[in-house]
């Protein structure tokens, strides 16, 4: 059954091609059969492949399938080759699974709008690209998927193209991530040039043999890959595109945040873990960037009024946790958190989508409220998602994965109490902003009656994802709670095992308790502020304008947009526009004008006056004679 592997990415691509070719000729009622069906079949293929992989693991715990040689120039022979091992298997299953339910949800959610077929075409392309990315055996094919997801994010964020703001947000997403992509491309050049291959397994083997740890080559290679990952995963300083990416339809946000795109950077680093292990300074940078990002984004999330922007900042923050995990060498914990995050974040977006849809495209949480009774399904599922995002201990999936990251941030090989402290502070913020959403949206007085109720197509994904947002954590139980790390031990067939500096069970227990209690404190603060409304703090968006400078800074995402706008965008646009008529052309124009001037001067001598001609002849004769005499 492993031979079916190629079908996993091929089916969504086929769906894209079919939908794109049929265009508007295809009646809307047929669109979901292709659009959702292709991803459904892809999920089926993925499940079949996964079962046969688990039932009879191939030799070396990896299976690779070459479809054809992409190009062959000298010794540069990247293939269209898929590579399945424990890591890509987990990614594939999560991507197709979550992707399928988002598609199912979209079939109902997007129905009736303009461009129904176009929407599913892009969505299929998105899933196909992401699957190519995670299955790629070499970095060039990975780069194809990498750029593919960037493209699809652009297409989908700008899906409602008639609004210029959407177009702006879409372009921003593509251009900012492409800055990272350019760095990644240079990284590819470097790796090929010094290791002679882009095959991921080969290059890691050769790097380990040829590069000394901490050598310049290893550092630059890892740093370039890291910049690429920062762009796609919306980490500091390339995080600015993600909050604006909310301009797209809500299922798109779910797809970008949960299954595709932003997790690509996490995957890349985990995939090329050997390179990062060879560059300890860069790996430390991964951890620090993750830590700083998770904190900054947490503060920003606290101040947003748009429910989707809160979720966007929460994604940046949660990916920050994954980077923190990667940076301290907690490879499996990062992937674990990726998985649980995929469940609860897609759930949160889909539930938020129901709220937004039923309130006629209202995004402002301060205009919502009291929806607990009228939208019970959305409420309960959102509550589960928020609990999992806040990492409530024991009962939620997010609790297990975040606890695992926090423990290793302290006790892991590269861990330190500082990193742990930042993570804990982030956990407090997460609890607070998550339940700020819950209280503002579903509690308090009702400000607007919902106009629509979700149907079954929307209900099924919500329930399934909610179930997984709780149960998904039991796949990896820590030592202190049953000691059954199924996922970690499976992933360690591919990823290096986590090294714990001092494996003391007491420490783990104490840290676990702290990690469990801190979110609760955050939630309690949210309860005080936004449920009981103790201070007149949460009045509404007007508050932001009047709020203190720090509040405004957080609201504006710490002013990165402002900075980039002044430093890069405006100077570039100004310079380009100033030179619109091409200064080089004016040089040639100058030559032309000079010719005209000389032409006029010389034509002027042809005056028709004999006296002047005679004088000219005489003068010329004098000059000639003078030259003859004196020279």
């Amino acid at each position: 059954m492993l031979q079916l592997l190629w079908l996993v990415p091929a089916l969504p691509f086929a769906g894209f091609v079919l939908l794109a070719l049929s265009g508007r000729r295809l009646p809307d009622r047929w669109v979901p059969f292709i659009g959702v069906g292709s991803v459904g079949l892809s999920l089926l293929a993925a499940v079949l492949v996964a079962t046969s992989f688990l039932a009879a693991p191939p030799p070396g715990y990896a299976y690779s399938q070459t479809l054809w040689t992409w190009m062959s120039v000298g010794s540069f022979t990247p293939g269209i080759t898929l590579y399945l091992d424990a890591l890509s298997l987990v990614m594939v299953v999560v991507v197709t699974f979550v992707g399928f339910f988002i598609h199912l949800y979209s079939a109902e959610f997007m129905a009736g709008g303009e461009g129904y077929g176009r929407f599913f075409a892009y969505m299929n392309l998105f899933v196909g690209s992401m699957l190519t990315l995670v299955l790629a055996s070499n970095l060039l094919l990975l780069y194809l998927g990498w750029e593919g997801v960037g493209l699809c994010s652009y297409l989908l964020i700008g899906f409602w193209y008639q609004d210029s703001y959407n177009g702006y947000a879409a372009r921003k997403a593509f251009v900012v991530t492409r800055v990272g992509d350019a760095a990644l491309a240079i990284g590819l050049f470097l790796i090929f040039n010094s290791l002679g291959t882009l095959e991921i397994q080969d290059l890691m083997r050769r790097a380990a043999q040829q590069w000394a740890p901490g050598s310049a080559l290893a550092l630059s290679a890892a740093a370039l890959l890291l910049v690429g990952a920062l762009g796609k995963s919306a980490q500091l300083p390339l995080q600015t595109w993600l909050p604006d990416a909310m301009a797209g339809p809500t299922p798109v946000s779910a797809l970008i945040h949960a299954a595709t795109m932003v997790t690509a950077g996490v995957y890349l680093i985990a995939r090329t873990n050997v390179l990062f292990a060879l560059a300890p300074a860069v790996q430390l940078a991964v951890a620090v960037i993750g830590a700083v990002t998770l904190l900054l984004a947490g503060f920003s999330a606290l101040t947003q009024w748009d429910i989707k922007r809160v979720l966007a900042y929460s994604t940046i923050s949660q990916i920050g946790y994954m980077f923190l995990a990667l940076g301290v060498g907690a490879w499996t914990a990062a992937i674990f958190h990726f998985m649980t995050h995929a469940f609860f974040k897609s759930l949160l977006f889909l539930a938020a989508g129901v709220v937004i849809m039923s309130l006629d495209e209202e995004h402002d949480m301060f205009k919502m409220g009291g929806l607990r009774r009228s939208l019970p399904l959305a409420f309960w599922t959102f509550l589960v998602g928020a609990a999992s995002l806040s990492a409530l201990p024991l009962v939620t999936a997010g609790g297990y994965s975040k606890e695992s990251i926090l423990y290793q941030a302290w006790a892991g090989q590269a861990g330190s109490p500082w990193l742990w402290a930042v993570g804990i502070a982030g956990a407090f913020l997460t609890g607070m902003y998550s339940f700020r959403m819950v209280f503002l949206t579903f509690f308090g007085e009702m400000k607007q009656q919902p106009s629509k109720k979700p149907s079954i197509d929307i209900g099924i994904p919500l329930v399934v994802l909610a179930a997984l947002s709780i149960a998904g954590g039991y796949i990896d139980l820590p030592r202190t709670l049953g000691n059954l790390p199924i996922l970690s031990s499976f992933l360690q067939n591919t990823l290096p095992p986590t090294v714990i500096a001092q494996p003391a069970i007491d420490t783990e227990l104490v840290l676990g308790v702290i990690a469990g209690v801190v979110p609760l404190i955050g939630i309690y603060f949210a309860y005080l502020l936004f449920f009981q409304r103790r201070p007149a703090y949460a009045d509404g968006p007007t508050r932001v304008a009047r709020g203190g400078p720090l509040y405004r800074l957080w609201f504006a995402g710490w002013g990165f947009d402002w900075l980039y706008d002044r430093l890069i965008v405006r100077p570039f646009v100004w310079a380009a526009r100033a030179d619109k008529d091409d200064v080089i052309d004016s040089v040639y124009d100058g030559i032309t004008r000079l010719n005209v001037v000389f032409n006029n001067l010389l034509s002027g001598t042809e005056s028709g006056r004999v006296r002047w001609y005679a004088a000219g002849i005489a003068l010329g004769a004098v000059v000639v004679i003078a030259i003859g005499v004196f020279a």
Binding site: A20, G23, R24, W68, T69, W70, M71, S72, V73, G74, S75, F76, I80, E114, R118, L140, Y143, L144, W146, E147, G148, L151, Y154, G158, Y161, Q162, D163, S164, G167, A170, R171, F174, V175, R178, V179, D181, A182, A185, I186, L188, F189, L190, F192, N193, S194, L195, G196, T197, F572, V573, A575, A576, R577, D579, K580, D582, I584, D585, V587, Y588
Partner: protein, 526 residues
């Protein structure tokens, strides 16, 4: 005898089309179409026949040769020869010729016969340039393609056509004269040192030249080719010529005339003056990078859609120049792929502008916007070629640009890194273009017919080739290798003993022999 026919068919076809114009406006269109299809069939037959032999090492440098004395008194012969490189460029020429005829089908209504005469004569000149191996003959074809293109712009162009046509003519003519000086200089130096006065390429190769003389002669060639490519700062003719030319003219300009410059560098400039070229390489690479960045930035600033695309050409061709002067297998193969990819994708974008202009009678971006809702088919095509243009993996341009940069990286890390910024700038202008044309509000309330069958065919064919070149470029790479191997091997032999062009690259290679087997190294002996 097949080679002269490949040139002559188009030459005769042009005359036939002109004559057929007397019968009615449809006649020249069909005549040109049939002539081009016959031409295509010939080329494809040659490709099919020789494809298996391309990789045989026993095969000589040329697949087919034709050599007849022309003016033997001064050593001029009618010498045509084809290798893998020229074959590919001929196929591109033909394909874009067909697209040019198709796109002009309804757009050209005046003097239709005369128009097609010029169109086919341009193609004939370009084909001659790609085949000629006698430098005099090469110069003859070089000038021959110029004149009909001048008339194409001056007679069927847009508002400001006379200005643009004259500017184009002066730039290319003046630079062509410098090349003529170079050719004649080489001819006499070769004659004096060997006693054989000839314009034959094979014999002129390896003419011993003092370094400074070689540099000056090389610069003569360089300027002529650089104007065509065009290399910043010799580019200002291009935006005007592109913008004012009729669509078919722009397609031929972008797709073909820009390529003869790059072809000339690979075939003539570097092999004839290897040392001079390599000592000049750093300058050329800087100019290439300048073109990539400057072209992209100016493309973004334009308000005329056609001018925008014209500036993107400068940016793309900067990669070609960069690749040629990096002169290793990866970079050269990349340059060839970009030449083809740019011909297809930018040609398609010019056709797109032509189709839009036919509908709304303006090229001003300010008057466009929101046209996706009224022309989704056109929008899809536009998006596809915009993505090709920004170098999306899976499409043709990416393969070329990636290979070029990979090759350049081996020679000069900084050059590759700076040129990669071009990826970002290309994204900026391509997406900006899509936004201004197809997205945003439909301010002017355009209600336009979407692509018709003829237009859809053009786009579909070009899309097909861009996609195939993007995901399976191997047949093209194999074909190009046949030509590139020979020039590379020759240049490597000439350079042997000369100081290495870049010592850091040499060091890197010797460290990693598995990465770069000798065959990919331009300094190794065959």
């Amino acid at each position: 005898m097949i080679l002269p026919w490949i040139v002559a068919i188009l030459f005769i076809g042009g005359v036939l089309a002109w004559v057929a114009g007397r019968l009615g406006p449809q006649w020249p269109r069909w005549v040109s179409m049939i002539v081009l299809l016959i031409h295509l069939a010939l080329l494809v037959a040659i490709w099919a026949q020789y494809f298996g032999q391309l990789t045989l090492s026993s095969r000589g440098p040329w697949l087919i040769e034709f050599n007849q004395p022309w003016i033997p008194q001064v050593g001029i012969s009618f010498y045509l020869a084809m290798d893998g490189l020229s074959l590919l460029l001929l196929l591109l020429t033909n394909l874009l010729g067909i697209m040019g005829v198709l796109t002009s089908w309804n757009a050209i209504k005046e003097r239709v016969g005369f128009f097609h005469f010029h169109l086919l004569w341009i193609l004939s000149g370009v084909v001659g340039v790609f085949l000629a191996l006698d430098l005099f003959l090469f110069y003859f074809f070089w000038e021959m393609m110029l004149v009909p293109l001048y008339f194409l712009i001056a007679l069927w162009g847009h508002e400001n056509r006379i200005y643009a046509a004259i500017k184009f003519f002066i730039f290319t003519q003046a630079s062509g004269l410098l090349m003529l000086l170079g050719i004649i200089g080489l001819y006499f130096i070769h004659g004096q040192s060997t006693g054989v006065y000839t314009f034959n390429y094979n014999q002129l190769l390896g003419t011993p030249l003092p370094a400074s003389t070689a540099l000056w002669l090389m610069l003569g060639f360089f300027v002529a080719f650089a104007v065509k490519i065009p290399v910043v700062p010799l580019h200002p003719w291009l935006p005007d010529a592109h913008t004012e030319a009729p669509t078919a003219g722009s397609v031929d300009l972008a797709g073909l005339l820009l390529k003869v410059g790059a072809y000339g560098m690979i075939r003539f400039l570097v092999p004839l003056f290897p040392q001079a070229a390599f000592s000049f390489a750093p300058v050329a690479m800087v100019l290439g990078i300048a073109g990539i960045l400057y072209g992209a930035a100016l493309a973004f600033a334009q308000t005329d859609l056609k001018r925008l695309i014209a500036y993107t050409s400068i940016s793309h061709m900067g990669f070609v120049l960069l690749g040629i002067f990096a002169w290793n297998e990866l970079a050269l193969q990349g340059a060839v792929i970009i030449m083809l990819a740019h011909g297809l994708s930018t040609g398609a974008l010019f056709i797109l502008v032509g189709d839009i202009q036919e509908r709304i009678h303006t090229r001003e971006l300010g008057r466009m916007g929101g046209m996706w809702s009224t022309m989704p088919g056109m929008g899809t095509a536009g998006m596809f070629f915009a993505l090709a243009s920004l170098g999306l993996p899976g499409l043709a341009n990416f393969v070329g640009e990636f290979l070029v940069l990979l090759g350049v990286y081996q020679v000069n890390v900084a050059a590759a890194a700076v040129a990669t910024i071009g990826f970002v700038l290309a994204t900026v202008y391509a997406l900006w273009m899509m936004q201004r044309v197809f997205f945003g509000p439909n301010r002017e309330g355009w209600k336009l017919p979407d692509v018709n069958a003829r237009e859809a065919t053009i786009y579909a064919v070009l899309m097909f080739f861009v996609l195939v070149l993007g995901i399976y470029p191997q047949p093209v790479l194999t074909t190009a290798k046949h030509g590139l191997d020979n020039v590379q091997r020759y240049v490597a032999r000439e350079l042997d003993g000369a100081p290495p062009f870049d010592s850091s690259a040499a060091r890197l290679r010797s460290d990693n022999d598995h990465a770069n087997p000798p065959s990919s190294d331009h300094r190794s002996r065959p």
